[in-house]
Symmetry: D2
Subunit: 347 residues, 4 copies
């Protein structure tokens, strides 16, 4: 039917397909009728599984996309006159076409960072104007874990940010589109890096780690969750055949698929990093802590490499590129990529 | 894993699962990497297939849910100060938690109808106040085909409504969550009942007829489509792994799956209708033209029936219930249901 | 400068100008500098005066327009997924260009009434679907006092509606654009018809009774008021020179100007009513309880009358017109109008 | 009634009252009835006067507040998926509580500047991502003239920005809350600095220069203006007694009141600047081009001065304060202020 080869590249972990176990589970739940819109046993099981992993206080809701998880989580946790403080590289700020502003009404306050990570010191200058009606009221600190630059917050750093947030009656939101990659890198449980660290609301992604379209908004604060079912419906994210999102999360946690996938993609990034770090013409620009490698390479090399492997420029002005690995990246992919890279460089 | 039986009932066609051909195709496209967010060959093929069926002028976009298709199609076709005229039984009015108002800003103007169908005569009294800034400007006529009451607009009736709309510089929107059921009932092509009939924007559903979550907003007017990609993104409906929605539409049109499924569910409704119409204690309240049967039955009978078959009350005040058939309803399901019904009535 | 005569008519009480006392007070406060945005002594005095009249629990905020008072009061009292139940003649439904939907996100649920008045019996059929996420959650009952048809709720009727609202965890909102006219007609205090009657949030108008542009949102519920200052600012209704709105309210309550104005306009409507009721060709269609007279008269008479007096058609299909009196209507205006009416009829 | 003295200070030009000519005109138009909502001869005259000053192509609409003028002008000129590029000191970004985001849905993109002024060089790095649906589409460049820091764009600089905007199919918006101060400083006509310079949409303020509450959204582009009357109504800014806003603009242009007021307040700022520049302990931080003086002074001096004169801190971290002059600032005010300043410094 479609003749073109689907060559694996390094463009994004969402260019990958779906783990077989996931499709298998989606077929398994395709039996007879279930009540629509999440009032079914599969969804109940998925919710239970999420609670097992995030703690009993976790209140999970399933949605389709990461943008939706972020936007609706923020909407539930903020008033329209609040602002959301985030890194200026945050997905919510640069990659969602203004969806957070449009749906929540909030102002986004982007902060420049060296590595995609907010710190209390970076944030504090923006914590002013409380009670002053001319000023968008700081309401949420939103971080991405791992960041869009492939770097990691430690659990301790997350705690510091949640404490800062709570001190100012604000909430801490994590965009965890790749949270599994962070969990395996930090070698901690999901609960330890979220509930135990004081996180209030989480966008927990699966799509970038081998699911098809399955994301979850997880609240650790009952009040924020109270009206979320209406917000999800108004946000056009309530699916009738919910069992097919539920099935993905069920598969994700069976036999630790999430861990297997995330460990693999992290390992592939590490392997790539270790290979390219030896090449003088390649300057790695960010710590490689999850499944992304950022590097500056000569423009001609980028050009040559792209003939065979798809990946994105990050900052064209300085020749910086981004290479993402994913659950299905093979050792051979890395070897061939590095060979090609060396060849293009001429070493 | 999940022990409960998934018994087929008559609650809704979205309580059914997914056609095997659809899951099969989703597995087929699960090869290697494709560019995300719809810039892939599977999506291009799905779009081509939709254009083949709706006409070259059709401009289709894929989304997840029917609510999203409706809300985003309306948003693209209206300004926030417009009103949307619809039947007071319309899904956009009674089943979407105000999502159209929230996202588009528009006012919904519900009109009472005997059978879920708008007519020029019913609409005309609401076509006033043009150019008067105190009045929400009538912008869209929205109809559901087939209606939420299982009734059908003829192609000629659709034409009359599009002519009325265009006469007042308004647009005609169809909520076609079950458009396949209408097409087979009317024995016409999708194009004949949409583009040829003057429709401007269509929510074309697949989920209720054997797909998993696959809906499409189809514009027949280039201007309305111009900015839709941004609206879809802001509407949180742009999926990275688009090929898995595309695959569903590809399967839907291969070997006329859509027709096979829709004809079957219509036939099952017909069979049910023909059986119950003979029972004096059952009063069928709407014409059975697609895959729904509405009937008034004694309360005790409803109670007895529900022990075995799941279905919804429609109007509790008068004892009216709704029975939906779906692509996977079997003749045996109908026979058993009717037997049980007779037993409960005592005839 | 402007040559055209400003002839008094019966179009609307907002076609009138401003009471002299009001302009006088606006001049009086025009001394030196005051802190902007309401943090000044004039505004504090206006707030105190409002609290004196509405009760200590009243929490008043000043805004410019009645639409703003309604929209922002509703926004503060509802979530975007709520619905607002109102008469289908309500100003918020028919005369605000969908502003309530756009700003609050809420759905408006219009109910047909014989006389512009909601009753528990009319409302109850709409109080369903609580906790069901597909359904806009009933959140507010909004009534207009006096109604757009010139009729009145008694204090007892308001109480019944607030009890109904509270029973369902909803709020009662009054659009009191002409509340002064109601208060004098009912011969009760503002507090008796609002706080004492269980009202949660009130749009208290002055503009239609001799002020220039001065309206107030008054909360009787601290929780609803808590964030209102931000909502007013985001709603673009926070004026820097607040003292000039404050001055209007100060004047309004000095020497009972509000009462004097409202009693006069009510009396003029009564005089008009008593004159026209004797003319057989005139059918008065609504009870005359405040400052409006609705009547059916022959089309040719309307045509003739409008040559001299400006007023609006209400329902052209049946020849119904609306005559509003205002604080500056004179006895002579009524006499001349009635003479002209009789002349046009030929009696 | 109110005992406190209304001492003139240097907090803001909107802490001043209203020019007598303005109140006088408001009294003058207070005769009889006029049709509401702007369909009256006073409003027509005000519109004509504005067109006379801004050019025949100008399409003016009257509103109450500067925030409303900005927000509604932006809403009319952008789609919800657009971004608005502005200085990070812009009123729309820092002083409107997120109203632009909430009402328009747009993202604001703040740019750091040395003096409140955007330049093509500062803007260009942000002009990317066109046609890329993940990216808020750059739609508007918004500048403030004079800026919030009291500096001025030359007409030539405005032209360069409009050319840049138009090259990218964007629009240039001016927040002209103090445009009169700019016009007299630049010694040019309103038309020369707006329509002739390629401006698309203007917030033209009067409130900060002696009016009470009178602002205008002026379009120089017919398409943008086409639906504005609905946007103004939905934006809750359409007043029934429009003649009282109109009167203010009529007075503003009679006998060049706008010019007289603006020249005076600029002259007072100049006088203040010339006095303080001689004091070594005072560091003026921005060019004084309109009616604001920004300076760094010792904290103890600020403290001492504030006992007698009200003004605002600008940047507490560095001891920077802002002194605004206004139409009613007297030479004596300046003298007394400078004396006090010197006394506090001890020179």
């Amino acid at each position: 039917m479609i003749k073109s080869m689907n060559r694996r590249g390094f463009a994004s972990d969402n260019n990958a397909g779906v783990s077989n176990e996931v499709l298998q589970k989606m077929m398994e739940v395709n039996i007879g009728h279930t009540i629509g819109y999440g009032d079914d046993n599969y969804t109940r099981l998925a919710v239970d599984v999420l609670k097992t992993n995030f703690g009993d206080q976790a209140i999970p809701f399933l949605v389709f996309t990461g943008t939706a998880a972020n936007v609706l989580g923020i909407t539930a946790s903020a008033k329209a006159f609040n602002s959301v403080i985030c890194a200026d590289t945050a997905h919510i700020h640069v990659d969602e076409c203004g969806a957070p502003e449009r749906f929540s009404g909030c102002k986004l306050v982007p902060i420049k960072t060296p590595n995609g990570k907010l710190t209390p010191e970076l944030i504090k200058p923006y914590l002013y104007g409380f009670d002053f009606e001319h000023h968008s009221q700081p309401g949420i600190i939103s971080i991405t874990e791992p960041t869009e630059l492939g770097t990691l917050y430690t659990v301790e750093e997350i705690k510091q940010l949640s404490q800062l947030a709570h001190k100012f009656n604000m909430f801490l939101h994590i965009d965890g589109a790749r949270l599994a990659n962070a969990a395996v890198a930090l070698n901690c449980s999901f609960r330890e890096m979220t509930y135990d660290a004081g996180v209030d609301v989480l966008s927990f992604g699966g799509t970038k780690n081998g699911l098809m379209f399955a994301e979850s908004v997880i609240f650790f604060n009952e009040t924020l969750a109270a009206n979320f079912k209406y917000i999800r419906k108004q946000g056009m994210q309530l699916t009738s055949k919910m069992r097919f999102i539920a099935a993905q999360f069920i598969a994700y946690f069976e036999n630790d698929l999430w861990r297997k996938n995330a460990m693999h993609s992290n390992a592939m990034a590490r392997k790539l990093y270790e290979a390219v770090i030896k090449i003088p013409e390649v300057t790695v620009t960010q710590e490689v802590q999850a499944n992304a490698v950022f590097a500056i390479i000569p423009e001609s090399v980028t050009h040559e490499l792209k003939k065979e492997f798809f990946f994105y420029d990050w900052d064209e002005n300085i020749g910086e590129v981004r290479w993402m690995t994913s659950f299905d990246t093979t050792e051979d992919d890395i070897d061939r990529f590095v060979d090609k890279l060396k060849e293009a460089i001429g070493c």
